[in-house]
């Protein structure tokens, strides 16, 4: 038997259950996170229009650059203010 040392980050991913899906978005606060890729705002503008139509309250957020993870403060702000978040990923 050989014993070797684990080269990984030894991340034990805790099971995190999904929240129950909301029956309606009416009255809920929905965060729209623009990751700063070109034309992400076009997509999110359209989403904001549609979400507002169904009674959601929309808050807009933007990462400083798509190349880096969202700053922890931004993540905290979204988690604090929103019940739902939608992220625009692509060009």
């Amino acid at each position: 038997m050989t014993v070797i040392l684990d080269p990984t980050g030894e991340q034990q991913v805790a099971e995190r259950g999904l929240l129950a899906r909301p029956v309606s978005l009416a009255g809920l606060t929905v965060g729209l996170l623009d990751i700063s890729k070109p034309r992400g705002d076009v997509f999110l503008d359209r989403l904001e229009h549609r979400l507002t139509e169904v009674g959601a309250v929309v808050r807009r957020y933007r990462k400083p650059t798509f190349t880096k993870p969202a700053p922890v403060d931004l993540r905290h702000e979204i988690a604090t203010h929103c019940e739902v978040v939608i992220e625009a990923l692509a060009d």
Binding site: M1, T2, V3, I4, L5, D6, P7, T8, G9, E10, Q11, Q12, V13, T65, T67, K68, P69
Partner: protein, 518 residues
């Protein structure tokens, strides 16, 4: 025999995973909890004279009568014997069977004489020296019938066949990484592939013995934090870097370069997260400066960007394995490269400072001459610049400029930095004309300046290009400071190489140079 394995009769079925016990279902690997449990603390030595000997040493046998005389004296004497518990016959010895006393008290030679006062060593001599033994014992006629001097023998605790095992036994508890058992019939190489811990090539199994030996390459504590590694943002210790360095094929003397590179890669400026996640074909390129290049045998000459040099390849590979294994960054995972490039296995080389007509890259980037540094650049694969006819610097600078302009897309400018690896035969043309580093870079960049009308979107019938608002300006290919010049390559060949970069500036990645410390 470390990591030895009999595999001559294995069948494919027998190779099937025979991992034992304690399966962590989510992790999918076999774990054994804890590490070696033997004490990492030194056994206390009694006050008085302490002498360590072994029977299999002519000098120890020579001094046997001396030991008898010392035992008969007033001073407390303790003799430790490493091999034969019956030796020496002249005095009752303590058998250092597990070599704990010898290991922890750094006995490298037998005989070794120690003087212990209040539990602390205050004096030591090794081998047989009549004068030294008389001085340390205070007995003026000690060993009068012996030769004046005889060298000692190697202590069993530093025997190359035992040292690795002893290091594991006595210092393995310093290591915190999870232990993973691989069954005797399991192929170690295949086991590492199966867990997803390799970059597509076999890795060296990171046994405790190898990792502890690797850690001898640095003075830093194994649990010291080196960086928080993206994309999973995992705190990474010296130990974790050492484990991956073992896997990459590093030697202990390579470790300080790897540690510096990991720290540099994980800075906000270099932004390894973005370099990893981009769809462009870039990865970290490591350029090493300073005396350490020679000390660890790095290549800066022929085939400098190619295969064949262990230090170059293993150091670059170790960084990539840290990103993969510790950070969790994997191709088609967070690594979104559309094509990648072969240099993402390893891309590390040294500057040819000795043959260079110019100051080293590290000095150009603000470090003192003689300081060991590693510069990280987010680079694609190298591309050759051919010019076998230019013998004046203006002509050659023009060729270099054309090579630089071709990077990524001739109509895209200022958004990407580049490394120009200039071969010695090209460099000589500039040096003979008296051009220094700054002038070479300035003259090349000046020759990349192109009218915006040729670069604008749609110009030449090509949609790609700079915004139309820049059409009335003339623009250089690279931003100020965006062309890094490095002197390296074989002595024959009128060629250089250009390494294209990635999105530069705060939005992307900045080249980062850091000092290498022990």
């Amino acid at each position: 025999m470390r990591n030895g394995r009999a595999n001559g009769t294995k069948t494919a079925r027998a190779c099937k995973r025979q991992v034992t016990e304690v399966i962590d279902a989510r992790y999918g690997a076999a774990m054994v909890s804890g590490g070696p449990s033997e004490s990492a603390t030194a056994p206390a030595l009694p006050d008085g004279l302490v002498i360590v000997v072994k029977q299999d040493c002519a000098t120890c046998r020579l001094v046997e009568p001396v030991l008898g005389r010392l035992a008969a004296g007033d001073e407390p004497l303790t003799v430790y014997t490493q091999d034969d518990p019956g030796f020496p016959a002249s005095v009752a010895a303590v058998h250092d069977a597990d070599l704990a006393v010898s290991w922890h008290h750094d006995i490298e030679t037998v005989p070794t004489v120690l003087r212990i006062v209040d539990g602390a060593e205050v004096d030591r001599t090794v081998g047989w020296s009549q004068a030294e033994w008389r001085r340390i014992t205070g007995i003026d006629d000690l060993g009068a019938d012996l030769p004046v001097m005889r060298p000692g023998c190697g202590s069993l605790s530093v025997d190359p066949d035992r040292a690795d095992d002893l290091r594991v036994r006595f210092t393995g508890s310093r290591l915190r990484a999870r232990r993973v058992e691989i069954a005797a019939l399991e192929d170690e190489m295949e086991a590492l592939f199966a867990r997803g811990w390799t970059d597509g090539l076999p890795v060296v199994p990171p046994t405790e013995a190898r990792v502890l030996a690797m850690l001898e390459g640095t003075t830093r504590d194994p649990q010291e934090l080196v960086a928080v590694v993206p994309p999973d943002l995992i705190p990474c210790t010296v130990e974790k870097v050492a484990i991956n360095a073992v896997m990459a094929g590093c030697r202990p003397e390579h470790l300080p370069v790897v540690l510096a590179a990991v720290a540099a890669a994980c800075t906000d400026e270099f932004n390894i997260h973005g370099v990893l996640a981009t769809t462009m074909p870039v990865g970290p390129v490591l350029i090493v400066n300073g005396p350490i290049r020679r000390r660890i045998g790095m290549n800066s000459a022929g085939n400098v960007l190619g295969q064949g040099n262990r230090a170059n390849l293993a150091i670059g590979r170790a960084l990539q394995l840290v990103i993969r294994n510790v950070g969790g960054g994997r191709p088609q995972g967070v690594d979104r490269a559309a094509h990648g490039n072969p240099g993402k296995l390893s891309f590390c080389f040294a500057e040819d400072e000795e043959g260079s007509p110019w100051t080293p890259l590290s000095v150009a980037r603000g470090f003192e001459p003689g300081q060991d540094t590693v510069t990280l650049f987010p680079g694609e694969g190298p591309r050759c610049i051919v010019d076998q006819l230019s013998r004046d610097p203006e002509s050659l600078a023009g060729s270099m400029a054309l090579g630089v302009r071709g990077m990524h897309h001739p109509k895209l400018v200022l958004g990407f930095d580049a490394v120009l690896v200039m071969g010695p035969e090209h460099a000589r043309v500039f040096a003979e004309a008296g051009w220094d580093r700054e002038r070479v870079v300035a003259e090349i960049v000046a020759r990349t300046v192109t009218p915006g009308s040729e670069l604008a979107r749609g110009a030449g019938g090509i949609a790609e290009g700079v915004p139309a608002s820049l059409a009335d300006r003339s623009l250089p290919k690279v931003r100020d400071g965006g062309l890094l010049l490095v002197h390296a390559g074989g002595g024959a060949g009128l060629f250089s190489a250009i390494i294209g970069g990635w999105a530069n500036g705060a939005v992307g990645s900045q080249p980062v140079t850091v000092p290498i410390t022990s």
